[in-house]
Amino acid sequence: MKEVVLECYGEACPIPLVKAQKKIEELDAGDILIVQIDHSCAMKNLPEWARKDGHNVEVDEIDDGEWEVIIEKVV
C-alpha cells in the first residue's frame, strides 16, 4: 500500500487539483495520496473532486492556512 506525498505549497488554483488528478491515475486501489496545500480553494475543490470520483477523503488542518488532503484511492 503506497503512500505518495504531493507538495503543493504556494501553488495557485487549479494546480494542486490538476496535479492530484494526474497523480492518482498512477496509483492502485488502496494507495494513499497526500496533497499538501496552503490554498483555501484547494482544501475545498480537492475533496469535492475526490469524493465525486468515489475515493475516501480526509482534510487535516495542520497549521494556520496549511492543510493535508488525504485521499485513499478506492477504484
Binding site: E3, V5, G10, A12, C13, P14, L17, V18, Q21, I32, I34, Q36, S40, C41, M43, K44, N45, P47, E48, W49, K52, D53, N56, V57, E58, V59, D60, E61, I62, D63, D64, G65, E68, I70, E72
Partner: protein
C-alpha cells in the same frame, strides 16, 4: 455544513508520513478582531467624510468576506469545465446571475414605471469587437494569473504573493489599455452599440428569456460534469 470528514474508519496512514502534528499555536482570531476594529474605524472615518464612501468601503468588506468564506471563484467557474471537468462553481455563478438579474430588473423596472431615470444603464456596454477581444484576453489572463479581478483582490487579502504581482500588472495593463483606449473607442467600440434586452423583448420578455437561458445553461453544466465523470 462541516467539510471535515468524521468517518468511523479513518484512513490508515503510516506514522512516518505524518509531516507534523498540529502545533499548539496561538490562534489568529485576536489579530482578526484587531483588523475588524481597524476596518470599522476606517469605515466610520470615511462615512463622516461622505456617507457614499462609507457605503462603498463596507460593501467591499462584505464582498471580500463572502468571496473568501465560500471560496467563490469566477475563474474556476469558467475554467474548470474544460480543465478539470467540474462545474459546481459554474452552476453557482449561474445561480448568482439569476438571482441578481431578478433583483436588478425589479429595481430598474421600478424606476422605469415611475418615469425616473433607470439606474445603472452605464453598464449596458456596446457590443463590439472590443468586447470580443477584451473578454478573450481577460479569460486567458485570469486562468494563468490564478485569479480574476475579484479573485485577485481576495487572494491578495489571503496573503498570496503571486497574486500581488498579478494585481500590480493588472494595474499596468489597465493603464496601457487606457492609453490605447482612444484608438479602440474610435475604431472598434463605437462600431457597436449598447443593447438593452428589454428594448428588444420588453421587460417581462427579457427577464423571462434570460432566466430560461440561464436554466438551460445550468442543466448543460450539470450534464457536462456527469458526462466527464462517466468517461473514466
Amino acid at each position: 455544513m462541516s467539510e471535515e470528514v468524521k468517518s468511523e474508519n479513518k484512513i490508515k496512514r503510516s506514522a512516518s508520513s505524518r509531516t507534523r502534528t498540529r502545533k499548539p499555536k496561538r490562534s489568529q482570531i485576536p489579530i482578526g478582531i484587531a483588523v475588524l476594529l481597524i476596518v470599522i474605524a476606517i469605515g466610520v472615518l470615511l462615512t463622516i467624510k461622505s456617507v457614499n464612501l462609507g457605503i462603498f468601503w463596507f460593501i467591499g468588506i462584505i464582498f471580500g468576506f463572502i468571496l473568501q468564506r465560500s471560496r467563490f471563484c469566477f475563474t474556476a467557474a469558467l475554467r474548470d469545465p474544460s480543465l478539470t471537468g467540474g462545474t459546481s462553481l459554474t452552476k453557482a455563478v449561474l445561480l448568482a446571475f439569476a438571482i441578481t438579474s431578478i433583483g436588478f430588473t425589479a429595481i430598474k423596472y421600478g424606476a422605469f414605471i415611475k418615469g425616473l431615470p433607470i439606474p445603472g444603464q452605464g453598464f449596458i456596454a456596446p457590443v463590439s469587437f472590443g468586447t470580443v477581444i477584451g473578454a478573450f484576453m481577460f479569460g486567458i489572463g485570469m486562468v494563468i494569473a490564478g485569479g480574476c479581478a475579484s479573485g485577485t483582490l481576495m487572494r491578495v487579502g489571503e496573503g498570496f504573493t503571486m497574486l500581488m504581482i498579478t494585481l500590480l500588472f493588472f494595474i499596468v495593463g489597465s493603464l496601457l489599455g487606457a492609453y490605447n483606449y482612444g484608438w479602440w473607442k474610435l475604431n472598434v467600440i463605437l462600431k457597436g452599440e449598447p443593447i438593452f434586452l428589454p428594448d428588444i423583448f420588453g421587460w417581462a420578455g427579457a427577464i423571462i428569456l434570460q432566466l430560461l437561458f440561464i436554466g438551460v445553461l445550468y442543466l448543460a453544466a450539470d450534464k457536462w460534469e456527469k458526462r466527464k465523470n462517466n468517461i473514466k
